[in-house]
Structures are given as structure tokens and as C-alpha cells.
């Protein structure tokens, strides 16, 4: 959610440029030869500023989780750079890498499989201290873990319990506490609430929001649920088949999308308001997402796009402010990788009820 000061002026904390991840496809048993590659991430650029939340949305297979893994160095990119405070972390190794990793932590999607069932909650949250003992001296760890449990809204007395004794929402709180243990500056959250029930989702989102202000965190928030991403993000990037096709401030993307894919995606989201049923136009995309082993030439969205022309098959559209929108300024003038980008109104419901603000439980 928008933190009070405008984040546009804040210094960049992560700069990603020209990021690629291609997985080779091989054939043959003894003599493997490469017959192609899965282009999971195929040229991604973005900047994350201090204190900001950057949302990344996209459908399954668009490469958003691979980007997340590269940000925390669980995968090495094929090409490109990830600069943390000006230093390219993809080139680092050994001690220097370890130091950087401390500052970029991850929260995983599935709170049921990302916690070791044989470890107590205290051991799970305290494990990062085994790897980075400089953060907390041995005698101090239990106290720190208790503090962390308290911070994420769990009873510190639960320190000796096992993950199965907690509900899904509580487990995700444990995952968040582990992510916070080393006092990182950046948290990469990959679908942190999609495994949770609706009533519990709100609790976890409010928690992440509070922690951001409390610890001055920057988030990369990855999800397929567009409503949640809008709620939490300052800026949003839309990914399709390994690339960001449109990126901008949340209102620019959600209220003034210019890329046809973003428009289709937004129009497909069911709005919880039956009154909106009659007067909404839905763009139903034809067909399926092409295989990442065989990406269409030119614009990768052209095979499903209703605006596609000759030019789209020839020229790859760059992720820039489209020239014809540049002069006009206003919210339409943001980066959009489409030759024929134009403002398209996405029909929405009339203003609905006001969401009451209430203290988190």
C-alpha cells in the first residue's frame, strides 16, 4: 500500500536489467545435445526503490516466480544483472554473496511445505542465525525469536510447537517471521497469500503492510490475484511469457492500462458486485499462452491479440512510454510494450461500499 512519502524520489535499492533465464532442453541419453530452451524469463528490467512495494502480476508460466528466485539468488540468471545498491549480485560469490543475501529475504507461497515439519517454530525462525551468526549472538537467539513471534502476531509461548499445530495463516506468519529474522531490507514474497482462506488473507496482508512501515522494508510482491496486488503495491508490472509488458504506478496500470494484455487481464477479473454484471465488457482472449520454448516473433502477445498487425510479427515492441502517448502526458503515459498502445477503458462496477478501517486483530 502507498506509504506516505512519494517513493519516486527514493533511491533505488534493486535494479534489474536485461534479466534472462533460459533452461536448456536436451535430447539423447549419453551424448546430450541441446535441442532448444525454455525461455522462462526473457529480458526483464525494473527498479525497486527503498520503502516501495513493486507488484508483479501474470498468469502461470509467465516467469514471475523465476524472477523471484533469481532475486534471492536461488537461480543464477543466464544473462543480465541484478544490482543491489549498485553492486551486481549475480557476479558475487562466497562471503560477499552471503552478506548480500542477508539483506534480501524471501517469503514462500505454500506455508504447508515451506516449513520443516520436524523442526520447532523456534528452530525454524532461528535457523537464519546459524548461517549468519553475526546478527545475533548465541545466547540471545531465543529472545530474538520470541520477539519476532510477537511482531508477527503469534504468542511467544508457541516457540516450542511444531508447524502442524498451526493453521495456514499462522504458518504464513511463521514464514514471515523467518524472513524478518536477519533484518533484511528487501523481502521478495512469491504468492504469499494465495494458499490462504479469504478471511485469513486480509490478516496477513495487513500484517505485511504494518511490517513494511515498522521496518522500512521494500517488497517485491508476486501474485496472480490482481485485486490483492493493487491493494498492496505502489507500482505494478504485468508479465507475459517471460517479459514485462507494462509497468507503472498502480493507478496507471489499473485505471489507465494501455497494453491489450493488461486490458484483457483486468476485464477478466470477477468483480464482487452483481450489479456490475450487466454493464461490463469482458475481453475474452482466444486460445492459450504459447509455449515458452517457441515464443512468437515480434510481439509475443500477438497470437492472442485482437489488434495485431503485420508490424507486430516483425518488430519487438520496447518497454517504453509509447511515442504517441508521450506528448500528452497524464496517466496513460507510462511504459507499455505495444506498438498500438492506447487507453482502453475497462468497465468496472459503480463505486461500491466503503471498506471500513478497523484495527487488525
Amino acid at each position: 500500500m502507498a506509504s506516505a512519502p512519494a517513493t519516486a524520489s527514493a533511491e533505488p535499492i534493486l535494479e534489474v536489467s536485461g534479466l534472462y533465464k533460459h533452461y536448456p532442453l536436451t535430447q539423447g541419453i549419453l551424448f546430450k545435445k541441446q535441442v532448444g530452451s525454455v525461455k522462462a524469463v526473457d529480458g526483464v528490467d525494473f527498479t525497486l526503490r527503498r520503502g516501495e512495494t513493486l507488484g508483479i502480476v501474470g498468469e502461470s508460466g509467465c516467469g514471475k516466480s523465476t524472477v523471484a528466485k533469481m532475486l534471492v539468488n536461488l537461480e543464477r540468471p543466464t544473462a543480465g544483472s541484478i544490482k543491489y545498491k549498485g553492486e551486481d549480485i549475480t557476479k558475487l560469490s562466497g562471503r560477499a554473496l552471503k552478506a548480500v543475501r542477508r539483506n534480501i529475504q524471501m517469503v514462500f507461497q505454500d506455508p504447508y511445505t515451506s516449513l520443516n515439519p520436524r523442526m520447532t517454530v523456534g528452530d525454524i525462525i532461528g535457523e537464519p542465525y546459524d548461517i549468519h551468526p553475526e546478527v545475533a549472538p548465541k545466547g540471545d537467539r531465543r529472545r530474538r525469536v520470541r520477539e519476532l513471534l510477537d511482531v508477527v502476531g503469534l504468542n511467544p509461548e508457541y516457540i516450542n510447537r511444531y508447524p502442524h499445530q498451526f493453521s495456514g495463516g499462522q504458518r504464513q506468519r511463521i514464514g514471515i517471521a523467518r524472513g524478518l529474522a536477519l533484518r533484511p531490507e528487501v523481502i521478495v514474497a512469491d504468492e504469499p497469500v494465495s494458499a490462504l482462506d479469504v478471511s485469513v488473507q486480509a490478516q496477513v496482508i495487513n500484517l505485511m503492510d504494518r511490517l513494511q512501515n515498522e521496518f522500512d522494508l521494500s517488497y517485491v510482491f508476486i501474485a496472480h490475484d490482481l485485486s490483492i496486488v493493487r491493494h498492496i503495491s505502489d507500482r505494478v508490472g504485468v508479465m507475459y511469457l517471460g517479459r514485462i509488458v507494462e509497468i507503472g504506478k498502480d493507478a496507471e496500470i489499473y485505471d489507465h492500462p494501455t497494453h491489450p494484455y493488461t486490458q484483457a487481464l483486468l476485464s477478466a477479473v470477477p468483480v464482487p458486485d452483481p450489479e456490475a454484471r450487466e454493464h461490463r465488457e469482458r475481453i475474452i482472449l482466444a486460445g492459450d499462452v504459447p509455449s515458452p520454448t517457441n515464443i512468437p516473433s515480434g510481439c509475443r502477445f500477438r497470437t492472442r491479440c485482437w489488434k495485431a498487425q503485420e508490424r507486430c510479427a516483425q518488430e519487438v515492441p520496447a518497454l517504453v512510454v509509447p511515442p504517441h502517448l508521450r506528448g500528452r502526458g497524464g496517466p496513460e503515459a507510462h511504459d507499455s510494450a505495444c506498438h498500438f498502445a492506447e487507453a482502453g477503458s475497462v468497465m468496472r462496477s459503480a463505486p461500491g461500499q466503503v471498506v471500513p478501517t478497523e484495527a487488525e486483530s
Binding site: N206, S227, V271, D273, E275, R348, Q353, V355, E358
Partner: protein, 327 residues
């Protein structure tokens, strides 16, 4: 009424005790109508549907009371043989996870055709032709060629279409769809829901849509039943419930979802956790999480009150439904 569930009770016996999954559910669907059953995991929405379909695992499950009237007959009194004839031919189910519901070693043509061989006694060849026709109807491109393919050769959205084709095969009067689009991406979800709605209109089928997604419900449902801890806590036509919920749980759910068209400051969060089904709180099961709870809620189980302040036919299992509706 096409289907009427009356006072259904289902429990599961486990090593740790008895889990009361369904505790007196009533709902009904007419031909051509869509009923959405809304609830979180553990609310009993799927168990109720499995009891209706007759595919509940027994044991550990046990139906301890109630009636399921389908076209006037009580399904719970039928013999398994007769029940089997109803299942598939007169009512069919679409599951959430199409990949694990399809047999990976049979072609989709064989699986679709099997319906006609078993229920209609058709020859393999005729059944194959029928399968192609069905795949055309759910708009799978190049059906003639793809009928020979295996489930893994289809995308998620296409697999769900095959599930729908299979459910439609014998033109049942009732379809139960259990989270049919939860595993799908939004653009595909829109395709599948559109198809389902269209086919329902065409065949005038009754549809029970089980989901936790308030957005999907608003898009397609005629009426809604909200479940909590194995009971229906609110039932109403779709427009009324979104405009003014008459149960604090429904209100909490509606307020806790972030919306695409609004950027709120903070989300309302329902406090606490859903109840443990082995130890459901006394009185109103929602009272420990409810902002309106009074002493009476801790002791007296609220019946499904008729909401008399509304023109529509609606009910709420809250002692203070009036306060909730107007507050």
C-alpha cells in the same frame, strides 16, 4: 424444486474424535437456476455436495440425518444400484483439479465415450463420434484430431473443458461444480465460466457452484448460500446479499477482500480462525469471531431466521440479523 437438501447431517469418525462436517444444511435448486454455495475450507460445502452426488467416502464419513430429494425421490433411500443410474446420467459433477480427475493412461476420447458405452449401451465407434461432438460443443479446437490425445497433452483450461464435456455427456438435469476454476488463470477462468453459463442456459440445467471466490459468485449466481462450520448462515438472492448482508460473517467476508476498483487503506480482517470441527463453539459457531456477539450468542444456536425486512426470500442464522442488515 429440482433438488432439495433437508436438514442434512454428516460426520467423520477419526482417531481423534468425531468431526461434525455438516450440521443441518437446507438448500434447493430449480431447473435453470444457479445456486452458489460459498464458504471457506472446512465449512462443509464440498462434503454436502459429495453427499448429494453419493460419492462420500463411507467410512470414515457417515450421513447421520436428513433427506436429499432429487426430482421428488429421496436419494438416501435408494439402493446403490439405482443410485448409480442417477449419478452421471441425471446429475454430474465437475471437480477442481481436472488433471487428477482424468485417467492419464486413457485417451480423452475413450473417457468421454465410456459414458455412452456404459449408460447408453452404444458401440465404441458411435461413442467415439459422440465424444468428438461433445468436444466440439465445449469448443475444443480440432476435436477430431485431439480426441485421440491423452490428458497431459491438454492445457489446464482445455482439461477443464473436457471435464465439462464429460459432465454434460448424458444431459443431466443437475450439475455440481466444485471450485471449477480455482486452479485456472483469470483469463482462462473467464472462458470456462462463460462456457458453463451458456451451456446451462441452453440445456436449462440446475447448477450448484461451490466456491470461495466472491467475485465469481457475483458474476454468475442467482442465489447464494453462505456456509460456516457445517451450517448455512445466510441464504439470499445474489443482489440482496452484496447490497446488504444480513449475517456478520458474510459482511466480514465482503469487507475483507481487496477490490480491483477501490484502493482501501486497510482491509477489514475477521479476527481469529475458523473453528475446529471436532470442537465447534456452543451457541452460534461464529460468536468467538463476531463483532456483534452478545451473551445469547454464546448459549443459543440461532435458527435460520426469515429476514422479514426484505422483499426477497432470504434467511440469516444470526440473532442480530436486523442490526447487521441495517448497520
Amino acid at each position: 424444486m429440482l433438488l432439495e437438501v433437508r436438514d442434512l447431517h454428516v460426520e467423520f469418525r477419526t482417531r481423534d474424535g468425531v468431526a461434525k462436517a455438516v450440521n443441518g444444511v437446507d438448500y434447493g435448486v430449480d431447473a435453470g437456476e444457479t445456486l452458489a454455495v460459498l464458504g471457506e475450507s472446512g465449512s462443509g460445502k464440498s462434503v454436502t455436495a459429495q453427499a448429494v452426488m453419493g460419492i462420500l467416502d463411507m467410512p470414515p464419513g457417515r450421513i447421520t440425518g436428513g433427506e436429499i430429494l432429487f426430482q421428488g425421490r429421496d436419494l438416501l433411500r435408494l439402493k446403490e444400484e439405482e443410485r448409480r443410474k442417477v449419478r452421471g446420467a441425471e446429475m454430474a459433477m465437475i471437480f477442481q483439479d481436472a488433471l487428477s480427475s482424468l485417467n492419464p493412461v486413457l485417451t480423452v476420447g475413450d473417457q468421454l465415450g465410456e459414458m455412452f458405452v456404459v449408460h447408453r449401451g452404444m458401440s465404441r465407434k458411435d461413442a467415439r463420434a459422440k465424444a468428438v461432438e461433445l468436444m466440439d460443443r465445449v469448443r475444443i479446437p480440432a476435436a477430431k484430431e485431439r480426441v485421440r490425445q491423452y490428458p497431459h497433452q491438454f492445457s489446464g483450461g482445455m482439461r477443464q473443458r473436457i471435464m465439462i464435456a464429460m459432465a454434460l455427456a448424458l444431459e443431466p438435469a443437475l450439475i455440481i461444480a466444485d471450485e471449477p476454476t480455482t486452479a485456472l488463470d483469470v483469463t482462462v477462468q473467464a472462458q470456462v465460466m462463460e462456457l458453463l453459463a451458456e451451456l446451462r442456459r441452453e440445456y436449462r440445467m440446475g447448477l450448484i457452484l461451490i466456491t470461495h471466490d466472491l467475485g465469481v459468485v457475483a458474476d454468475v449466481a442467482d442465489k447464494i448460500a453462505v456456509m460456516y462450520a457445517g451450517r448455512i448462515v445466510e441464504s439470499a438472492p445474489v443482489h440482496d446479499i452484496y447490497k446488504a448482508p444480513a449475517h456478520p460473517y458474510t459482511r466480514g467476508l465482503l469487507d475483507s477482500i481487496p477490490r480491483l476498483d477501490q484502493k482501501g487503506r486497510q482491509l477489514y480482517a475477521i479476527k481469529g480462525l475458523p473453528p475446529n470441527l471436532m470442537d465447534i463453539p456452543p451457541g452460534c459457531a461464529f460468536h468467538p469471531r463476531c463483532p456483534l456477539a452478545q451473551d445469547v450468542c454464546r448459549t443459543d444456536v440461532p435458527p435460520l431466521y426469515e429476514v422479514t425486512d426484505s422483499d426477497a426470500d432470504r434467511g440469516s442464522a444470526c440473532h442480530f440479523w436486523r442490526e447487521c442488515l441495517h448497520g
